[in-house]
Amino acid sequence: MSLAKRIIPCLDVKDGQTVKGTNFINLRQAGDPVELGKKYSDDNADELVFLDITATHEKRKTFTDMVRRVAAKVSIPFTVGGGINELKDVDIMLNAGADKVSINSASVRNPQLIDEIALHFGSQVCVVAIDAKLEDDGIWYCYLNGGRIKTERKLFEWAKEVSDRGAGEILFTSMNHDGVKHGYANDALKKLSTTLPIPIIASGGAGCMQDFKDTFTLGESDAALAASVFHYNEIKIPELKQYLKNEGINVRI
């Protein structure tokens, strides 16, 4: 198989600036999203994700303008998320030049939205983001609103439903691992990746280059997403890809 494992920098955007939270709180500034996106594209990142973490109605236009500027400048695929609640929002983002949209809370509140996006725009456009936390009872529960609201939905049941409804990919963030920098939730990722017929993007926990290797081998993830290790230059993408290639992982160099 020659399909490359993907490295995806994620840019959380608030009021037109990128930020990254540690365990979803305590945000720090890390630059202009368009410039940063272009830099990652030049560094051979495989895709980009832009998440609008304010997503209030007043700021929505700022984000749409940013999406337009990214599309003009960047020649690799990118996904946008945050504040996408209905088909109309998807249409606006795709028209602004995004390749895919990521939906999270809205899909839990209205699962039918996944079917609608798949039907109107195709499955390949629809990335469903799932934030989940492994609780003391040994069960992964899904959370909403950037990890602020716990639901009774269980990760693996929900992921199966999402896939059945026509999602093109699942972006799974482990809240236990996010920001901790001790590696991805590879046990859960492996279960998702081997039981579902769609690609799984690992998110939350990248701290060193080996964490990426482990999620591609142990976790069988199709793609690995990270933010702060890239934004603060702790890991450089060209070096990461060379490392992965030397370790026998199929990556695009």
Binding site: M1, S2, L3, A4, R6, S41, N44, D46, A71, A72, S75, I76, P77, L94, N95, G97, D99, F121, G122, S123, Q124, V125, G168, E169, T194, P197, I198, P199, D222, A223, R252
Partner: protein, 201 residues
């Protein structure tokens, strides 16, 4: 050089416009039959579902226009599939420029996921469209249906089975992958197409 991008109900038309802009070209995005016919080359891009896009083309009389074009034409992704004879997606009769049917990927085991999504390699390239592109160069694919290898195949990829990454017949070129989303390699392929078109101006 006048470059037309066909405007229809497929997604992602503007990403090819941005890609052309980065090469210094300002294309005309149009569904006007005259404007398409009088351009020096035509790009037929997009992402979408076969039956819906085909219905739109037929109802806007763009089907006969596209088939009748004499200048260089580049179909991309769903554009390429619509240039074939028939698609299993929505059991759709297509333009029949390439008399080859489009089939759905059937994964033989779990390790193959559908859609085929991400960066994969170009192999066995044989066309000026791929001038100076190295074997095994990575380009971006995103599709659940494929065109089998056939007499028009000018590049291949292997996912589940070898399939057509690109096609060529007379003035018609087509790529299954998205050159406009394939970084520098993709820009080079788009430039190659423009160079082919320039020679024929």
């Amino acid at each position: 050089m006048k470059v037309a991008v066909i405007k229809y109900n497929a997604g992602n038309i503007y990403s090819v416009v941005h890609g052309l802009n980065r090469l210094g070209i300002e294309p005309n995005v149009t569904d006007s039959i005259e404007e398409i016919q009088y351009s020096d080359c035509v790009i037929f891009p997009g992402q979408g579902e076969a039956s819906k896009t085909m219905n739109y083309l037929t109802s806007h009389k763009l089907d006969t226009v596209i088939k009748g074009l004499k200048q260089p034409v580049l179909g991309i992704c769903i554009g390429m599939q619509l240039m074939c004879s028939h698609s299993e997606e929505g059991n759709t009769t297509c333009l029949d420029i390439f008399d080859i049917p489009v089939k759905r990927f059937i994964p033989p085991k779990r390790s193959f996921k559908i859609p085929h999504m991400g960066w994969d390699t170009l192999n066995e390239m044989e066309s000026p469209l791929f001038a100076n592109i190295k074997e095994n160069s990575y380009v971006y694919f995103i599709h659940s249906y494929y065109v089998p290898v056939n007499k028009y195949t000018i590049a291949q990829n292997d996912y589940i089975l070898p399939f057509s990454a690109a096609l060529h017949k007379d003035n018609f070129y087509a790529t299954q992958f998205h050159p406009e989303k394939s970084g520098k390699i993709g820009e080079h392929i788009l430039q190659n197409f423009l160079d082919i078109a320039k020679e024929q101006c």
